[in-house]
């Protein structure tokens, strides 16, 4: 079973290209306010992550995802379901 601990390093790797401005990505990094992703980039990142983990992330859950950690936990939950 894939746990959050397995997911996090893969997730950080996928997000790294979007973090050029701030350099180092942490669990607490805010995807919108710190990475400065606009709605188009958010969509592109999500599509990448969906393919990477073979999941579909519902739009309904997006308002609750602010940080890298939130996103990792969402992926964990979807993989369990």
């Amino acid at each position: 079973m894939t746990t959050y601990a397995d997911i996090l390093p893969k997730l950080l790797e996928t997000l790294q290209p979007y973090a050029k401005k701030i350099g180092h990505l942490k669990e607490t990094t805010d995807l919108v306010s710190e990475l400065g992703l606009d709605s188009l980039q958010v969509m592109q990142v999500l599509l990448k992550i969906e393919d990477q983990f073979d999941i579909s992330i519902p739009l309904n859950n997006l308002p609750n995802i602010r940080t890298v950690k939130d996103l990792g936990q969402e992926i964990e939950m979807l993989l369990k379901a």
């Binding site: 606009d38 709605s39 188009l40 969509m43 599509l47 393919d51 073979d54 999941i55 579909s56 992330i57 519902p58 739009l59 309904n60």
Partner: protein, 405 residues
């Protein structure tokens, strides 16, 4: 912090745009003379951003029907159909639309926006899933949200991504609604409907097609993309609007499923708003008849579209999609798009300026919607004006390295 502080960022964005003079998102047409001509900033202007595809807004039959209904049935209905009752004319219009599509069930809404809200929220609720195209119109986004279903988005027009997402759903795919558009309003591209219908059937999902920009435009009888692609039988429900090719306002849903009628009892955007006013209903009904009886209008629209498309392509513009009534010129930057939009307006040509975040892929667009009512002379003026702003921007800016942009 007050509630009003959130408007600060909008105010700043607006001021940035206003530095150039005119506000493209708060433009007034001081006088409207015909489907294709109005007065803007005191100047006679050709309208190329109206969605008035068949030019029916001034058709004498539509005007006469509206005037008669106004005199006979009054200015408004003053209430909802459920609480206050339907007028016979509402039922007549529903029968006319059902007849037009050859489907037994039709429901009329007060706008196309509400048709999407009403149909989507009623069909897919908690426990169900919606798969929507990522480039969908705002009314589809809002309709998906309103019902409480789980909403997933697939890559625009990407059948492989749709397939993947349906596969991941497993058995839930049978309780999944797929929603796509016939012609997408920004770039004018079409859904790959044949493939989408095949996938929908494979996974036993339900398919809704929004024909807002394709009604009266595509198909032998003008029913839209489903007719053109010869897959009408694979579509569960069609939604659309009267506000574009039919030249009035209002929206509708049609379906072969008898259960569709129950939407009237569950759909808040149907129940809790006033029904369409009699004059609008009457004009719409005549416009629908004209679509049926006057295929020449559609033919003229396509001739005009081809002419404008060829003209813009020859100048060197990169266009958003194949030939069609929506022709979008893709401009390298927001600033250039704004400048060119203004240049066109100064020459008496009004098109739609579309900039991110409202556009797909962050594009900046000068969006034209062609009308059957554009005259050859108007089309020539439009193309000439596009040519003028193209050369003046090429001269000004070193960033136009190639003739393509």
């Amino acid at each position: 912090m007050s509630l009003f502080e959130k408007f600060l960022s909008i105010q700043q964005a607006r001021e940035e745009i206003l530095q150039n003079g005119i506000n493209p998102f708060h433009l007034t047409i001081e006088k409207i003379n015909s489907p294709t001509e109005g007065v803007i900033n005191g100047r006679s202007t050709i309208l190329v951003g109206t969605n008035n595809y068949l030019g029916l807004t001034f058709h004498p039959d539509c005007i006469q029907a509206g005037q008669e209904a106004l005199a006979q049935e009054g200015t408004g209905t003053t209430g909802s159909r459920m609480a206050n009752g339907s007028f016979s004319s509402h039922n007549d219009l529903e029968r006319a639309i059902a007849g037009f599509y050859g489907m037994p069930h039709a429901i009329v809404f007060s706008t196309g926006y509400q048709a999407n809200l009403g149909v989507l929220s009623a069909l897919a609720g908690p426990g169900d899933t919606i798969l929507m195209d990522g480039d969908s119109h705002a009314s589809i986004y809002d309709g998906c949200r309103l019902g409480g279903a789980e909403v997933l988005r697939f890559k625009h027009n990407d059948v492989a991504d749709l397939d993947k997402k349906l596969r991941r759903l497993g058995e839930r795919s049978q309780r999944t609604l797929i929603i796509v558009e016939g012609i997408y309003s920004m770039l004018g591209d079409r859904a790959p409907l044949k493939e989408i219908v095949a996938i929908k059937q494979q996974y036993e999902a339900t398919l809704v097609v929004d024909e807002a920009h394709s009604l009266g435009v595509l198909g032998k009888r003008g029913r839209g993309l489903a007719e053109e692609a010869e897959v009408e039988e694979g579509v569960d429900c069609i939604v659309g609007t009267f506000s574009k090719s039919l030249g009035s306002t209002g929206g509708f849903g049609v379906s072969v499923h008898p259960e569709f009628e129950f939407i009237r009892y569950t759909s808040r955007p149907y129940i809790f708003t006033a029904s369409p006013c009699p004059s609008v209903v009457a004009s719409t009904k005549v416009a629908l008849r004209l679509v049926r009886e006057t295929p020449q209008l559609r033919q003229q629209l396509w001739e005009n579209a081809q002419k404008l498309y060829d003209g813009l392509e020859q100048i060197g513009y990169t266009l958003g999609a194949e030939v069609g009534p929506v022709i979008a010129a893709m401009i390298p930057s927001k600033e250039q798009a704004l400048g060119m939009w203004q240049g066109l307006l100064e020459q008496g040509v009004y098109v739609n300026l579309m900039i991110p975040p409202a556009t797909p892929n962050g594009e900046s667009l000068l969006r034209c919607s062609v009308s059957a009512a554009h005259t050859p002379q108007q089309l020539e003026t439009i193309i000439q004006s596009f040519s003028n702003v193209h050369s003046s921007f090429k001269e000004q800016s070193g960033s136009y390295q190639s003739s393509k942009m």
